[in-house]
């Protein structure tokens, strides 16, 4: 799992690449979100466009990231989800809880 951080219009964007699965990607995601929050990030956008796979541990980390950010008064958005990743979130009904946007422009605009 490779994660790059950048800024756009006041939001912190994490570009995720690889698998968010147990023992590797899940830990990387947790550390990246915690580091961004520690650096003062309030609103965080997760670019999921290059996520190849996710398992229940990865889903758990997405939920943890959502809780961490919203409990601090911020917003966490996901965008550009590949079909398989979206499918995993749909069957556990997390699409009703997490904020999922079509693309980066839409995600950034949603923070306004």
């Amino acid at each position: 799992m490779k994660i790059d951080k950048r800024q756009r219009d006041g939001a912190t964007i994490l570009d995720l690449q690889g698998r968010i699965t147990i023992g590797e990607g899940d830990v990387a995601l947790r550390e990246a979100v915690q580091a961004a929050v520690a650096d003062g990030a309030v609103n965080i956008l997760l670019n999921m466009g290059r996520v190849r796979s996710i398992d229940s541990s990865g889903v758990g980390e997405l939920v943890a990231a959502y809780t961490t950010v919203t409990n601090r008064g911020g917003k966490l958005r996901l965008f550009s989800l590949p079909g398989r990743v979206l499918g995993v979130l749909q069957i556990t009904q997390l699409v009703t809880v997490l904020d999922i946007l079509e693309d980066e422009d839409e995600a950034v605009a949603s923070l306004a």
């Binding site: 147990i22 023992g23 398992d55 229940s56 758990g60 959502y66 079909g83 995993v88 556990t92 009904q93």
Partner: protein, 153 residues
């Protein structure tokens, strides 16, 4: 006339998460010889990974000395997977429903749900001497149907 596809592969792995990748590679290679679409193999892989995770984490407590026994049996009609740990077992009926409103934002508890969604049948067997054996079965032809159905909702 093509040879019938029938293989049984047995693996004994230590309880380290990196070994999940090894089993995934064996599954991928096994399924590659079958006329399955890519999605079918993908969802079976997720189910297998969840079973391995549970065996290593909840069964064997991530003790690398405790083995997880894996058997992949495949033929043209489907796949039959067993994953066995050395733990003390659990009560499947006591596993919380991850779709319950109070559980939606929990960070754990979705692995068995995903296994049930992505495979046709799941059975548990608890040996007298301890250990949990989970059996995952999938008939080819209906692979991925559960996910496709949900996405249409």
């Amino acid at each position: 006339m093509p040879e019938p596809v029938e293989r049984t592969i047995r693996l004994s792995i230590g309880s380290r998460y990196e070994n999940i990748e090894l089993v995934q590679a064996v599954l991928d290679e096994t399924l590659a010889s079958l006329p399955l679409d890519e999605d079918a193999g993908y969802w079976m892989g997720i189910a297998l990974r969840e079973a391995l995770t549970n065996a290593m984490k909840h069964g064997n407590g991530l003790d690398p000395e405790k083995k997880v026994e894996v058997c992949l049996a495949v033929d043209e009609s489907g796949i039959d997977i067993t994953v066995e740990d050395r733990g003390s077992g659990f009560d499947p009926s006591a596993v919380a429903d991850p779709l319950a409103p109070d559980n939606l934002l929990k960070t754990e508890g979705r692995g068995i749900f995903y296994m049930r969604k992505f495979m046709d049948k799941i059975d548990y067997d608890f040996g007298a001497g301890g250990g949990t054996k989970v059996r995952l079965q999938k008939k080819f032809g209906a692979a991925g149907a559960a996910v496709e159905a949900d996405q249409e909702d």
